[in-house]
């Protein structure tokens, strides 16, 4: 073919052209065949693979988080609701210069190092068209700033998401707890399916205890999205089932009264309806703003709360374990009467101290340092309670023995968790020889029985336990599991379990009368709060030592550092004839019961003296 031919020979040229055309056609056919084979391979051989891939590309299952159930008090006052919180997010794919965009955003709104770190971590795991949150809780001003600069910030979005809000902040923080962002550990325990799309979970308190009901059921929607992540069409939708609204026994006004009565003091108030076990008030001070946690608490804020010597995060009402002091004396009296060791007439000589037979150590009565002598030469049960005579109960404790005390006092719920529907409840300690051997590996010493007899030594109880015990006294032996939850979605909850203690009714009356004398008698330890009280209450004061007082040392309150001052306690139920409320108050380092009893008076007034219109 390369042979040269004469100048312009059309025939020969056509021959060459024909041959070349044939070659060209063959090349065209074979190359088209290759292309065709390629399409055959993609469309027929690998059809299944690509079809699956295209489905994944196209249809996206989007979780629809349910609206968290609201929490109300017994009168319908909203205690926890949900409010839109604005979140600044970035869609990676739509941002051309991420570093530049971040820098520009930082100039507009404050973005902390933790925010950035969080963002970078999430950025790794999200698909480029998914928004990655950068800043939560945008203020109105910040939102306005971002809106104004929107055109310069492609790929930056501001979305609203429902976040828990506690309208009363600090007031109910310990009563209902709070939600917070789901952490790594929680995400492993939670039902992954149901919590897709949910960012918060109940961390403590009611919010945690009733998490399942409050959270609701996640919904889904199948959406078609484009590569920009924009939802083009909703293919199918399963609406989420919102969490159940929950009504608690708590009473807003009572809670507020108790909170304000505690004021700046560290302490706790628990009020229970003795007939139902419903918790009417649960206050622990100092509190904290639960909204901090719902919005994602900053490291600085958290350290501040965690490291404060006042321990605001510590729920004193259920976690605080204090020596109950003299508040256990009515229960001790019931044990004495029930065991037949004493009658209402039995008297004990009271020189102001007590001594174990064959032992020289004197166990002092609290009155000794005030009067230099005992309450009276001979003290009987009513006076022993009304004036809080230690000597009487030293003697009773010795005769009852520690295990006898354990036997009787456990019917009041001491030494074990009350079973309240909240988290972090502590069991306290109701000591026994078994307990000491198990817990400390030591035998029980007789002197320790005397301390236990006046609620000191190893004995510990939470304010919640004391309130429950007071309710048992009020109801003449009916022990109820206390409950915060009153109804779910309008459905009343079944009444709690009741265990009734077998005891002589006359004994109850005797002890009730003695408890009435605490306030309503001229020498009662809490007679001060009885002034102008239009109703009668049964109560008991208590003082518990924070540090042991050395033998023969004279205890001078003013000289003891504030943190070492005695705790003041007070328990009461009212009205005396037909109790509708049982209260336990503790004031940490209050010095004595006189710090606690006025708080209880205010709480009782609030509950008993309110006009019917107040509900």
């Amino acid at each position: 073919m390369a042979q040269h031919i004469p100048f312009r020979d059309p025939g020969q040229a056509i021959g060459i052209y024909g041959a070349r055309t044939l070659v060209a056609v063959l090349i065209v056919l074979s190359l088209l065949a290759i292309i065709l084979l390629r399409y055959y391979d993609l469309q027929i051989n690998d059809y299944e693979t690509y079809r699956t891939q295209s489905e994944r590309n196209r249809v996206q299952l989007q979780p629809l988080p349910p609206k968290r159930g609201l929490i109300y008090d017994r009168n319908g006052v909203l205690l926890a609701d949900n409010r839109p919180s604005h979140i600044l997010s970035i869609v990676r794919e739509r941002v051309t210069d991420l570093e530049g965009t971040l820098a520009e955003l930082q100039a507009l709104v404050p973005i902390s190092g933790a925010d950035l770190e969080n963002f970078q971590q999430k950025l790794q795991r999200r698909r480029p068209y998914e928004p990655v949150p950068l800043r939560f809780r945008l203020t109105e001003e910040e939102r306005a700033l971002l809106a104004v600069n929107r055109h310069r910030l492609p790929g930056v979005t501001v979305d609203a998401q429902l976040v828990r809000h506690y309208p009363h902040g600090e007031l109910f923080a310990h009563a209902i707890g709070y939600v917070g962002r789901i952490n790594e550990q929680e995400s492993q325990q939670l039902d992954e399916r149901n919590y897709r799309g949910t960012f918060h979970v109940g961390k403590v308190g009611v919010e945690n205890f009733y998490e399942n009901m409050l959270h609701g059921e996640v919904g889904y929607q199948n959406v078609e999205t484009n590569a920009h992540g924009r939802v083009l069409r909703v293919l199918e939708r399963h609406d989420p089932v919102p969490g159940a609204d929950v009504t608690l026994h708590l009473d807003f006004d009572l809670q507020k009264t108790a909170f304000e009565a505690l004021g700046e003091q560290r302490g706790a108030v628990v009020a229970i309806d003795p007939k139902t076990g419903g918790v009417l008030a649960l206050v622990s001070t100092p509190g904290f703003d639960a909204n901090l946690f719902a919005n994602g608490i900053s490291g600085a804020d958290y350290s501040l709360l965690r490291d404060s010597p006042d321990m605001p995060l510590f729920n004193r009402a259920v976690q605080g374990q204090y020596p109950p002091g003299s508040t256990i004396k009515p229960m001790m009296a019931m044990a004495g009467l029930g065991s037949g060791l004493v009658t209402t007439e039995t008297t004990v000589p009271d020189p102001g101290w007590y001594r174990l037979p064959g032992n020289s150590r004197r166990y002092r009565d609290w009155i000794l340092k005030i009067r230099g002598t005992g309450h009276a030469p001979h003290v009987a049960l009513e006076m022993a309670i009304a004036e809080s005579c230690d000597t009487y109960f030293y003697d009773l404790a010795r005769r009852l023995t520690i295990d006898g005390m354990h036997e009787y006092l456990q019917h009041y719920g001491l030494g074990e968790r009350t079973g309240l529907d909240t988290t972090n409840e502590r069991p306290g300690v109701l000591p026994s020889t078994d307990w000491k051997r198990d817990a400390m590996g030591q035998p029980w010493y007789p002197g320790e029985t005397l301390s236990a007899g006046i609620g000191q030594g190893y004995m510990l109880a939470t304010p919640m336990q004391l309130a429950v015990a007071t309710a048992v006294l009020a109801t003449r032996g009916e022990q109820r599991v206390p409950r915060l939850l009153r109804s779910i979605a309008g459905e009343a909850q079944s009444p709690p379990l009741v265990t009734t203690m077998a005891a002589n009714d006359e004994h109850w009356t005797a002890v009730h009368q003695a408890m009435r004398a605490v306030v309503h008698s001229p020498r009662g330890t809490a007679r001060k709060i009885g002034q102008g009280m239009p109703y009668e209450i049964a109560s008991k004061t208590g003082t518990s030592q924070v540090i042991g007082i050395a033998q023969n040392a004279v205890y001078i309150e003013e000289e003891v550092a504030e943190r070492h001052r005695n705790h003041g306690l007070f328990i009461a139920f009212a009205p005396y004839e037909a109790p509708v409320i049982a209260v336990a108050v503790i004031i940490e380092n209050g010095g004595g019961a006189s710090a606690a009893s006025p708080v209880a008076r205010k709480v009782l007034d609030s509950w008993l003296l309110r006009s019917p219109a107040d509900g």
Binding site: I16, I35, I44, S54
Partner: protein, 379 residues
Amino acid sequence: MGDYVRQLPEASADLARRPSLALRLHIDVPLLLLLLMLTCFGLIVLYSASGTQLGAVVRQGQYFVVGYVAMIVAAQIDLQRYQRWAPWFYLLGVGLLLAVMFVGVGAKGAQRWLDIGGFRFQPSEILKLVMPLAVAWYLASRALPPRFSSVAACLALIALPSALILSQPDLGTALLIAASGLFVVFMAGLSWRYIGGVVVAVFLSAWPAWIYVLKDYQKQRILTLLNPESDKLGAGWNIIQSKTAIGSGGWEGKGWLNGTQSQLDFLPESHTDFIIAVLAEEFGLRGVLALMGIYLLIILRGFWIGFTASTIFGRMVAGSLTLTFFVYVFVNMGMVAGLLPVVGVPLPLVSAGGTSVVTLMAGFGLLMAASTEQRGLLH
């Protein structure tokens, strides 16, 4: 091919017996019918690929009107006149390319356009037609098969505008234009020894070219072709998405307007360079076969026109234009399916865009001029 060849001359002969409108308008009816089929098919696919925007279809339809007018106008001119004008066309084209170099306007780092009174156009498009004309003009007056000196002169003719386009930079177009000139030389009977030598030279120059000639983005395209998974969301995205679109179409396709990949914007450039993926997804392999069938018939008709052309100039021009058209089809279908690197080559007469439609249709006008010349001689 056999059936086809038997039928078409009869058809044209039929038309020729009457003093037909087609002949008077210098229209090659089989070619026109095939182009109309392709146009309709293309617009149907475009409607879907543009996201069911009628506006895009109307605009493309207007381009086609311009294109068909350009074709008919180009068909009216005598082929010999093209041959006479070819060197002047060539000089004009090179002049315009030089103008682009100095006063051109650019976009995305490339300077390809000339702006004349608000009308923007790419001189390199003109070269797509001028190049085969110029090389055919040169060889038509030389002994064939071409001697070494003729081949060297042709290479110089080809190299000048190609280099200018390459410097814009526009590698894809430069290669296409160089190819259109080389096809003329090939059709003229270039010795297989030279062809073999070029093939060897290309292989030998691949290594230096990789190091010195190719730009980073061009290398990236080639690397991405070899392993699209390596850059899933970057350069590999287009190929992965287009393969997914094609593959998920299967034999039957998902149905018109139901191509989820393309409808949902997963597929980039779905209405321009990657439109074949939309077609493959919605019409399946059946649709691909149909489109390929139309293309093949157009190509065969083009070769037939060249084969029956009465002058060497006409044969070479027809052969080159047909092969260039095929290269468009091959490169585009190959790159979208992940066989070839992604270069900016549209699917001829289907991809949205006015310039390529007008150029291609004018090219078919040249083919029709060649066809007319042959029939004109017969009658």
